[in-house]
């Protein structure tokens, strides 16, 4: 199988390190080869595109240029925000003038038209839920009820992102089903969680994240599962703020989907990083075990942390 140029994104070294470690471990376990982009830099994230589109694309594009040496089939990243910036840069640079303006800002101009994809897309398209399910005949997560939340920009706008359905994405659902988990029909899969306003306007983030948590809770989900560092932080770390904004109480574990894959694949605890989550994941696993018991199923063997 070919090599993927891997872009962890800044948060992968910080607030979402468990996303990064679990992603790497899952990819390795499923036979995908990741090669880190040498000396990668920040994609510019939201702040850059609010200043200027050329600047924003230049910050993203430097990484495209850096990845050219790797001879990879695609550049992949776990983070939707990085994904958007990288993809938007590629998209806008199809326009000659824009491309020239971006390249002017760069020491090393972009030459190749490297496809950019999310890790999720690669896991679904290049490995596939069927393959995953066939490796896990014991349905390790059976009984776990999950509300899959994709975040607003993973699939939108569809002309740029070119992956999954912009209103009702299913990629993560299918992976979770392959692990044996139940997936509730979560209607707000692409509704914004409040994005990067957590610091300057936490009132906004609290209200929007609260709505997501509330909906997941009302649907009886044991946990939410996300693919975005920012969403995860808003939902998990800021859960109390959301609760007081809505006048409700939440105890909703919020996983990265790669963590759950790693759990199901019985990868080592240190790469799964369940201890990095704020809301204790044990609540979810306890609910899972209870549901299994009720259904008369046997418990699969897991590492201690899960059990």
């Amino acid at each position: 199988m070919s090599t993927y140029a891997y872009y962890p994104g800044c948060s992968g070294l910080g607030t979402s390190r468990e996303y990064d470690t679990s992603t790497r471990a899952v990819c390795r376990a499923l036979g995908l080869t990741l090669a880190d982009i040498p000396d990668w830099s920040c994609c510019g994230s939201t702040p850059a595109h609010t200043v200027d589109h050329t600047l924003s694309s230049a910050l993203a594009a430097r990484n495209l240029a850096q990845a050219e040496d790797l001879d990879a089939s695609a550049l992949i990243t776990p983070c939707p925000s990085c994904l958007t910036n990288l993809k938007m840069a590629v998209h806008r640079m199809r326009d000659r003038d824009f491309r020239d303006r971006v390249n002017k800002l760069l020491d090393r101009p972009v030459r190749r038209d490297l496809p950019v994809k999310s890790v999720l897309q690669v896991l679904v398209e290049d490995v596939g839920p069927e393959e995953l399910a066939s490796r896990l005949p014991d349905k390790p997560l059976a009984g776990l009820k999950l509300a899959p939340y994709y975040g607003c920009i993973m699939n939108r706008p569809p002309e740029v992102m070119q992956f999954d359905d912009p209103e009702h994405p299913t990629a993560m659902d299918r992976l979770m089903l392959a692990l044996g988990a139940d997936v509730v029909p979560f209607p707000l899969k692409v509704e914004c969680c409040g994005a990067s306003f957590g610091v300057p306007r936490k009132d906004i983030t609290a209200r929007l994240s609260g709505k997501l948590l509330e909906t997941a809770m009302d649907l009886g989900a044991h946990a939410m599962v996300t693919a975005c560092p920012l969403c995860q932080m808003n939902l998990d770390l800021r859960q109390d703020q959301a609760a007081s904004a809505l006048g409700r109480k939440f105890q909703m574990p919020v996983f990265y989907y790669t963590q759950l894959m790693a759990v199901a694949l019985r990868l080592p605890q240190n790469v799964i990083g369940l201890n990095k989550l704020c809301v204790s994941p044990h609540i979810a696993f306890a609910a899972m075990r209870k549901a299994r018991a009720e259904a008369g199923r046997r418990d699969p063997s897991f590492s201690e942390e899960v059990a």
């Binding site: 359905d165 912009p166 209103e167 009702h168 029909p185 209607p187 707000l188 909906t215 009302d218």
Partner: protein, 652 residues
């Protein structure tokens, strides 16, 4: 050749800025001109008499009149020269009014220009040939395609006018969409009460033959003489024997068949008569659901049928009908709402189309006229209507307004209140389009008397919450986002061209727009005619239309057919293409470009040659401009004639 030239004053209209006498004097110098004069009003009685007289006195072979636009009086003067014994194509006109005297005040320049235009006309006339129209027989039967209300009206009017009608309908019954409606705006009278009797008239009319479950396979021929191949699908029931008693439906064990008539609300039996008033009232087996046809089990209907009508081996049938005219009335289809992912459409059971709602409202519908949610049968108390779904939306390639959904939504909120007095209806709309007689009053009534709450704004998303649906929209007049929790959501799905309309149009050689609606000959002045002689349009196949407009068009198309059939013989327009068989190399390029399929390949002593079907050619000249050999020439507009005009201008 002896040519006479007449330069018209048109009072001062021309003479005011053109020296007409001077033009006449100049004209005398043109080749073959034997007579030239100016004249006060060429088209008047005395003006025409003077032309007739001059032809006789001077033995003229052809006439040029320089006056107004030929689009106005060419036919007049053609008749004039004909009266004097000339062929009507031995006449040419120069337009020295609209194109000269009215657009410039410089008499000298105008006079020169008028003379040159006259010279062009003379040079062209020198190369004109007498042309004769061909007469041909008309088969005075008419084919109506599509048995919706438009097709029904057209069929009845033609039949009442004494003509034989063949009505071809794709479904097993006629009636179209109107048969599925509960009540109709703006009078709120019962749809089947008005349509039913008309359907019965169709069935009983001695001059109407209905071919249901049938489609057009192929169209040959031309106005007056079409040969239509028709394919009839297998019903698995011998309709000659079936009495429509319905016993088979009662006993058929396959009760989960798709109920197409009820728009998938509820189910039906594999063998069924779509609805009690169906015309023809015959049973049909749906092969996808019949246990006998899918699994070779059951066969109950065959045992129960008192007339032994069931025939599991029935095949499609192909047959032809000869007619002289065709009326296309294939109606519309509903936009597929599942394209709106954000509305959960097609996935959420209680988000339905307007047409499905009609079935829920209808006393003869699957719920007996009780408005119930498809999911749990509960009576909805809050109903939200969303307009312009699949209309006025470029992002789904439907930028046009569907015309009738504003009105049917208003009707549906009124009926909802009648059915469930303690219910509240919300209507999300962008604009209200109600431009008919009593239409705006009707929509106002929905708001004022029936308390419907109209919200100006589109809906962005619909999602389930508990056993309700959150409808999130905007109220742009308030300038806010709004939400309402609905029990039932009705999407006013727009109209799109009926499935396969494009293919049918190609068979009929008529044009259609990029959405598949058929193109009329002229949007204002020839709304039910097409550019193919003998083919007419009625109803919403031409564009979304409500019932009154569809019926009016049905009658209008019938009037056109009756007018066509009022003559025993038709005449073609002799300005058509003809092939010089010696120059034609049989390359077939002309055949490819002819928009009317008027050219066929024939075998001439073992070699392929093109041949024009004279009565089909419309005289566009596309073939002439295409032929690399100059072998196919359009009479009256031959290369020689046009180049003669060019030379008259440039080389003189």
């Amino acid at each position: 050749m002896k040519i006479g030239v007449f330069i018209c004053h048109c009072g001062s209209n021309i003479a005011g800025t053109v020296d007409t006498a001077q033009v006449a004097r100049t004209a005398l110098e043109f080749p073959d001109v034997a007579f030239a004069t100016d004249t006060m009003y060429a088209c008047s009685e005395p003006g025409q008499e003077a032309i007739v007289q001059a032809i006789k006195d001077h033995g003229l072979d052809g006439v040029v009149v320089s006056s107004c636009t030929p689009l106005m009086h060419e036919p007049t003067f053609r008749r004039t020269v004909e009266r004097a014994g000339l062929n009507r194509f031995m006449f040419e006109m120069a337009n020295i009014r609209e194109h000269v005297s009215w657009i410039g005040k410089d008499t000298e320049a105008n006079t020169r220009k008028a003379a040159e235009l006259t010279r062009m006309a003379v040079e062209k006339l020198r190369r004109n040939m007498p042309l004769f129209a061909k007469q041909f027989e008309v088969n005075k039967r008419v084919l109506v395609v599509g048995g919706g209300v438009a097709g029904i009206q057209a069929a009845l009017d033609c039949a009442d006018g004494g003509r034989e009608v063949v009505l071809v309908e794709r479904e097993s019954t006629i009636g179209g969409k109107m048969a599925k409606l509960d009540k109709t705006f703006p009078t709120v009278d019962c749809s089947s009460c008005v349509l039913g009797p008309k359907m019965v008239d169709v069935a009983q009319h001695p001059k109407i033959t209905v071919h249901a479950l049938s489609e057009i396979e192929d169209v040959k021929g031309f106005v007056g003489n079409f040969e239509i191949a028709i394919r009839r699908k297998a019903a698995y029931v011998d309709w000659a024997k079936c009495t429509g008693c319905g016993l088979c439906m009662e006993k058929c064990p396959s009760r989960k068949s798709l109920d197409r008539f009820n728009e998938g609300v509820g189910t039906t039996t594999a063998i069924n008569i779509p609805f009690p008033q169906a015309i023809p009232k015959k049973a049909v087996i749906d092969p996808a659901f019949c246990l006998k046809l899918t699994k070779d089990k059951c066969g109950v209907c065959a045992k129960i049928c008192p007339t032994q009508a069931i025939d599991f081996k029935q095949q499609e049938a192909l047959f032809t009908e000869q007619v002289g005219a065709v009326i296309a009335a294939t109606g519309y289809d509903l936009f597929d709402i599942s394209k709106y992912g954000e509305y959960g459409a097609g996935k959420l059971p209680d988000v339905i189309t307007g047409l499905q709602y009609e079935r829920l409202l209808s006393a003869s519908g699957p719920t007996g006229g009780h408005v119930q949610r498809p999911s749990d049968g509960r009576e909805p108390k809050t109903v939200v209507f969303v307009q312009c779904v699949g209309s006025r939306d470029k992002s789904v390639d439907r930028p046009y307004c569907s015309g009738f959904c504003c009105m049917y939504t208003a009707k549906q909120v009124i009926l909802t209140r009648d059915h469930i007095p303690d219910s509240t209806s919300y209507v999300f709309y962008m604009d209200i389009r109600a431009p008919g007689k009593m239409y705006d009053e009707f929509t106002r009534r929905a708001m004022e008397e029936y308390g419907a709450r109209y919200v100006r704004g589109r809906v962005a998303m619909i999602y389930p919450k508990g056993d309700k649906y959150v409808v999130r929209g905007a109220d742009t007049l308030m300038g806010t986002q709004v939400e309402v929790e609905a029990d039932l959501v009705v999407l006013a799905a727009g109209a799109e061209a009926s499935q396969g309309a494009g293919k049918l149009a190609e068979k009929l050689r008529i044009s259609y727009d990029k959405y598949g609606f058929f193109l009329e000959s002229h949007p204002k002045l020839r709304p039910v005619e097409t550019n193919t002689a003998g083919v007419y349009l009625a109803g919403s196949c031409q564009g979304p239309k409500d019932i009154p407009a569809s019926v009016a068009q049905g009658s209008a198309a019938a009037a056109k057919v009756l007018a066509l059939f009022s003559k025993d013989k038709l005449e073609n327009d002799p300005m058509i293409a003809a092939v010089d068989i010696r120059r034609c190399v049989g390359c077939g390029k002309c055949i490819q470009v002819c928009p009317f399929k008027a050219i066929k390949e024939v075998d001439f002593r073992g070699e392929p040659k093109a041949e024009v079907i004279e009565t089909v050619c419309q005289g566009c000249g596309l073939c002439t401009a295409t032929c690399p050999q100059g072998a196919i020439q359009l009479a009256h507009f031959t290369d020689n004639q046009i180049l003669a005009e060019v030379n008259a201008l440039c080389l003189a």
